[in-house]
Point group: C2
Chain length 304, copies 2
C-alpha cells in the first residue's frame, strides 16, 4: 500500500476526506519502486500540490534504509515545495543499536548532525529516545507522532515518552500507524490506548489526562502538521473539519459538559459519531457515508 499514494489520494478525495499523504523514500537500491524515490516523491507532490484536501509530502522510511544523501535530497525537496516531511524515528531498539554500530551515534543525534532536523517534520514513533534526543527534537521543533497501539502490537518494548517530550517543548500528536500494525484506525481508540500506556509507563494515573488526550488528537496534531492556524479546533476563521457526536449514546453517559471530554478520550465508541464534516462538507451524515456506500466498499475490498 505504501507505493500507491496516488490511488490513496484519489480515494480520499472521493470520500471527501482530508489527507496528508507521504510518498515513501528509500535509497534507490533498497526499494521495489521504479526510478529514484526522491524524484518519485517530487512527482507525487507536483501532481497534488494546491489541492484543497490533499497535502502531498515526502516520507523517508528511516535511518536503516536512507543514506545521508537521501535525507539531504529529501529535505531540499520539502524546503523547495514547502511541504512537511514525515519519517520513522527510533521505533525499534534494533534500529537504534544498528545505527549506533554503523555510525557511532543514535538516530536523532545523527540526523541532527547531518543537518536534517528542523521545523515541519513529523517523526513517527519516537519510542527509544534518550533525554538528550528529546531535547534535540524539541530544540529543532520536530514533532512526534505517538503510535501507541502500533508500538504495543509490534512489541517494540518501549513506550514513547510523550509527557517528557511535551515538557521539553516538543509537539506531539497521535498516530494510528497503518492497518499492518494496528487493528483500528480510530482516533477514539488511539486516545484511550495512548492514555493507558502512558499512565502505565510512568506509574502515574494522572499522566496524559482526558483534555490532553483530546488535544493530542486534534489541535496538537494540527500543530505537528504546521496547520494549526486553519485546523485542529473549532474557532471562527478555521476550516470546518468536525465530528458531531450523538450525546444519547451509552458510551457518552452522563453527557454533561464536565464529563464529555473524559468520555471522548476514554470511552466513546465510534458508533457515537453521528456526522462528520470536512471543510464544511458533510462526509458522513447521520451515520451514512455521503460519497460512497458501504456495500460497494466492502465488496471492492474483498475483491482486491
Amino acid at each position: 500500500m505504501y507505493y500507491f499514494q496516488d490511488a490513496t489520494a484519489r480515494a480520499a478525495v472521493g470520500l471527501g476526506a482530508r489527507g496528508f499523504l507521504g510518498w515513501a523514500v528509500l535509497d534507490a537500491d533498497k526499494t521495489t519502486q521504479h526510478g529514484d524515490p526522491v524524484d518519485n516523491a517530487a512527482g507525487f507532490i507536483r501532481r497534488w500540490r494546491g489541492h484543497p484536501l490533499i497535502q502531498p509530502l515526502p516520507a523517508p522510511q528511516g535511518v536503516y534504509v536512507d543514506s545521508e544523501e537521501t535525507w539531504r535530497r529529501t529535505r531540499e525537496l520539502a524546503d523547495r515545495e514547502r511541504t512537511p516531511i514525515t519519517y520513522h524515528l527510533s521505533e525499534t531498539l534494533r534500529e537504534v543499536h544498528d545505527h549506533e554500530a554503523a555510525h557511532g551515534k543514535r538516530p536523532a543525534i545523527w540526523l541532527d548532525e547531518i543537518g536534517f532536523l528542523g521545523p515541519g517534520q513529523i517523526a513517527a514513533h519516537g519510542v527509544w529516545l534518550t533525554r538528550r534526543e528529546i531535547e534535540i527534537l524539541a530544540a529543532r521543533k520536530v514533532a512526534v507522532a505517538h503510535c501507541a497501539s502500533s508500538n504495543a502490537k509490534l512489541a517494540t518494548g518501549g513506550i514513547c515518552p510523550v509527557v517528557d517530550l511535551r515538557r521539553a517543548g516538543a509537539v506531539v500528536g497521535l498516530g494510528t500507524d497503518s492497518v499492518a500494525s494496528n487493528n483500528s484506525l480510530s482516533m477514539l481508540r488511539e486516545m484511550h490506548v495512548a492514555g493507558l500506556f502512558q499512565k502505565h509507563h510512568r506509574w502515574e494515573a494522572g499522566a496524559l489526562g482526558h483534555q490532553e488526550l483530546l488535544d493530542l488528537a486534534t489541535r496538537e496534531g494540527a500543530r505537528a502538521l504546521g496547520r494549526d492556524a486553519e485546523l485542529g479546533s473549532l474557532e471562527p476563521g478555521k476550516i470546518a473539519d468536525l465530528s458531531l457526536f450523538n450525546l444519547d449514546h451509552p458510551t457518552l453517559q452522563p453527557a454533561t459538559p464536565e464529563a464529555i471530554v473524559s468520555h471522548l478520550a476514554y470511552s466513546a465508541s465510534e458508533e457515537a459519531v453521528d456526522s462528520v464534516y470536512v471543510a464544511g462538507v458533510p462526509v458522513v451524515r447521520h451515520r451514512r457515508l455521503e460519497g460512497a456506500d458501504w456495500a460497494t466498499i466492502r465488496s471492492e475490498a474483498a475483491a482486491a
Copy 2:
C-alpha cells in the same frame, strides 16, 4: 456500589444477565458495613443460592483489610456453601511491600501458609507476582482474573504475567474490574487491551494471540469460575449463553472463517453484536434490550 449486591443481583435478573456476584468481606473494623461482613456474605449467599442466573459468593477485599481470621472464616463459608471465592491479590506494589513489612511474606505466599489458597478461587489482578508465587497459585489451582485496563488506568506499574501463569498451569481469565477503574465493561475491548499489554510486556508480538485472547474471555473464564462443564463454549449439553455478531459490520471485515477470531479479539466493535442469549433466552435481539429500555436506564442512572 460494592455493598449493594442484592440490588445488583435484582438488576441482573431483571435484564436476564448471568451474574457471579461477590459480597465484599473486610475485617469488621475496616468497613462501613453494619454487622459482621462474613455473616453478611453468608446472608447474601442464603438469599440467592440456587438461582439459575445468580451465583452469590464471598469476596475478601485483600490482605490489607482482611486478617488471617477473616480469610479463614471466609474459606469455611465458601467450603460450606460450595461457592467460589474472589479476592484482590497483589494489585499494587504498595500492598505487597506493606504486607512484607508486616508479615515478612509476600501476599500469595502468606495466603498459602495460612492454608487459605485452594481450588474455586479467583484472584483478581495478580500484577506483582514472583516466579515462586506463580508456581504456588498454579499448584493450588487458584485462577487469576487479569484486569489489563484497570491495572493500566490505575498505573499499578506492573503487568500480570499472563503467559507465565498459563505456562505454569494456572487458569487465567479476563476481568474488566469496575467502572471506578475502567471506562468500559466491554469484554471485546478488554481482549484487545490485554493483547497489547502482554505483547508490550514480553517484547513478543506473538504473545497472547487472538485464539488465546478469545479463550481467556470465554472458556477460560468459565474454568476460573469452576463452571466450564456448563459454560464458556458452544457445545451440545452446555447452557446457551451466546452472542450473535453481524458479520457485515466494518470491524469484522473480511468476515472469513480464518480471520473472524482475530477480528473478535482485536478489532470488533460492541456495535457488531446483534443479539445476546443467556440460558437460551434473548436478552438483546437485533440490538434492542428485551428486558429494559435504554431511555429508562439512562434517566434512572442520571437521577441516581
